[in-house]
């Protein structure tokens, strides 16, 4: 009888260790995915100087947008920025670059430029990778939050002082339907 009790106890301990390890693993997955987002965003900012340099020799009417992009990039590099501020700057850069990419249609010489085409492909790839990293982050956060809220993970989470994480969300402004007319007008 005592042997049965010992075996049951050992099994319970193993189970609890597995739950604990699972929570730790999911929390690390969230951190990894968050780091991935940062890496892709950095890659995007590294592409900006070359893109702006090529584009500004052709685009006479978008000089103000290009200057805005250069300023946003400089501000983003500041080390003391908070996470919220970084996300706001990222959104502004995305919006400004969308306007620039759309305006390329008005400059046939630019569209034919081989260097620009290569950079445009690299930019598209970068945007896809950013989107992928955000989706991966949301997936990791959802799994973590689910483990956090379900029993018995919820008991451990309290003990370890873990907190629920927020998924990546786009700003309210970006949820509105896009007007092509407004985009072309530079709004």
């Amino acid at each position: 009888m005592i042997y049965l009790a010992i075996i049951a106890l050992v099994l319970i301990v193993i189970y609890l260790v597995m739950i604990y390890n699972s929570l730790v693993s999911k929390r690390n997955d969230v951190d990894y995915a968050f780091g991935g987002m940062d890496t892709m965003l950095k890659k995007r900012y590294d592409l900006l100087p070359n893109l702006v340099a090529i584009v500004k020799t052709y685009m006479e009417h978008e000089k103000s947008t290009l200057v805005e992009i250069a300023e946003l990039r400089s501000r983003r590099e500041a080390p003391e920025l908070k996470q919220q501020e970084k996300e706001e700057l990222d959104t502004k850069v995305e919006t400004a670059m969308s306007r620039v990419m759309l305006s390329v249609e008005n400059y046939p010489n630019l569209k034919a430029n081989t260097n620009f085409l290569k950079l445009q492909a690299a930019w598209n790839e970068c945007e896809e990778q950013i989107a992928a990293s955000r989706r991966a982050y949301n997936s990791a956060v959802t799994e973590y939050n689910t483990a956090f809220e379900q029993f018995p993970g919820s008991q451990f989470a309290g003990t370890l002082r873990y907190e629920k994480k927020k998924v990546f969300e786009i700003p309210e402004l970006e949820r509105a339907n896009i007007s092509a007319k407004d985009l072309f007008a530079g709004k």
């Binding site: 997955d29 995915a33 991935g36 892709m40 290569k118 492909a121 690299a122 598209n124 790839e125 896809e128 990778q129 989107a131 992928a132 990293s133 989706r135 991966a136 949301n138 997936s139 990791a140 959802t142 799994e143």
Partner: protein, 317 residues
């Protein structure tokens, strides 16, 4: 895609004359084969009859029958296979080759060649040991910006200690994005969420596979299990648009379809679409058979458009 009226015209103008010639060839070799069978049967009867007359024992006759009958059966089988292969080869060259060139004149059909075992192993769709591998009827060529290669494949593999057989089409296409990892998208057999969830749990116990990746599309999660080492790269490959296209493709196939992404290539295994180019010796091939084959072939070729592989917006052109 060739279908309906266009195929009817192609059939009547191009295929029918060739089929008539082949039919004469089929009749001739079938006649020769029937003659061969008759000769062998007659030989056995003569020998057995001779021994019955001389020995007269039933046991002796049975032993005799086995002594001559078993080797005769092997000879018949060997000869039958030779004749079938000869007819099949000629049929594939003339008829199937015509259908393939009709879809796309740049495609190359090699009846004797097939996808190599190494390529199937790289895909890791059938992990663990692969046995009894055969492949034939390779078709390859450039469809727009995408290089595609496919063939019939038959193999045995073991998963979680259980032996399974696969018979169907195996395709390899150059994917439109660069990536470095290996990712598996395995079809779930259960169509209910609970069954798919159980299947995924069981598949996770297979330690030779990378970790399970949870994608956001619930329908995709029900139909497929995704495995890979880097979730970010997996999401980069499996965009919401591609996932929807893969679901639509599976719906079209109406059977198990598995995908794998490795070394910037996509591998697809479609169960059940095998022997699509295997003509019967015993009867004439009719238009309905050819329409089914044409559909199966179009199926494989449509993969490039169905999954939008010719879209090249990124650094891989």
């Amino acid at each position: 895609m060739t279908s309906g009226g266009a195929f009817d015209l192609f059939y009547s103008e191009i295929l029918l004359p060739k089929l008539e010639q082949l039919e004469a060839y089929r009749e001739e070799i079938k006649k020769n084969y029937d003659g061969f069978l008759t000769l062998v049967a007659f030989g056995i009867i003569v020998v057995c009859g001779y021994r019955i007359v001389n020995d007269g024992t039933v046991t002796g006759v049975i032993v005799l029958f086995c002594m001559y009958g078993i080797p005769a059966a092997y000879i018949i089988r060997w000869r039958s296979q030779k004749i079938r292969d000869a007819y099949s080869f000629r049929f594939k060259e003339e008829i199937i080759g015509s259908i393939i060139r009709y879809h796309n004149p740049t495609l190359v059909h090699s009846p004797e060649k097939g996808i190599m075992l190494k390529a199937v192993e790289i895909s890791t769709i059938f992990n663990d040991s692969l046995k009894r591998f055969e492949s034939n009827d390779e078709v390859e060529g450039q469809l727009g910006k995408t290089y595609l290669q496919f063939s019939n494949v038959k193999l045995e593999h073991s998963t979680l200690g259980m032996k399974s057989k696969f018979s169907g089409l195996f395709l390899i296409a150059r994917f439109n994005k660069k990536f470095s990892g290996d990712y598996l998208v395995i079809s779930n057999r259960g169509s209910f969420a609970a069954v798919s969830s159980l299947e995924q749990t069981l598949q996770q116990t297979n330690l030779s596979r990378p970790p399970l990746i949870t994608v956001e599309n619930p329908v995709f999660r029900r139909e497929f299990s995704v495995f890979g080492s880097d979730p970010i790269e997996a999401f980069y490959i499996l965009t919401p648009a591609l996932m929807q296209r893969m679901l639509d493709f599976k719906e079209k196939v109406q059977d198990e379809v598995h995908f794998s992404f490795s070394r910037s290539r996509m591998f697809v295994a479609i169960r059940g679409k095998d022997h699509i180019f295997y003509p019967p010796l015993s009867k004439q091939v009719n238009k309905k058979d050819l329409e089914a084959w044409n559909e199966g072939l179009g199926f494989a070729l449509a993969l490039v458009n169905d999954l939008n592989l010719n879209t090249r917006l990124w650094s891989k052109q």
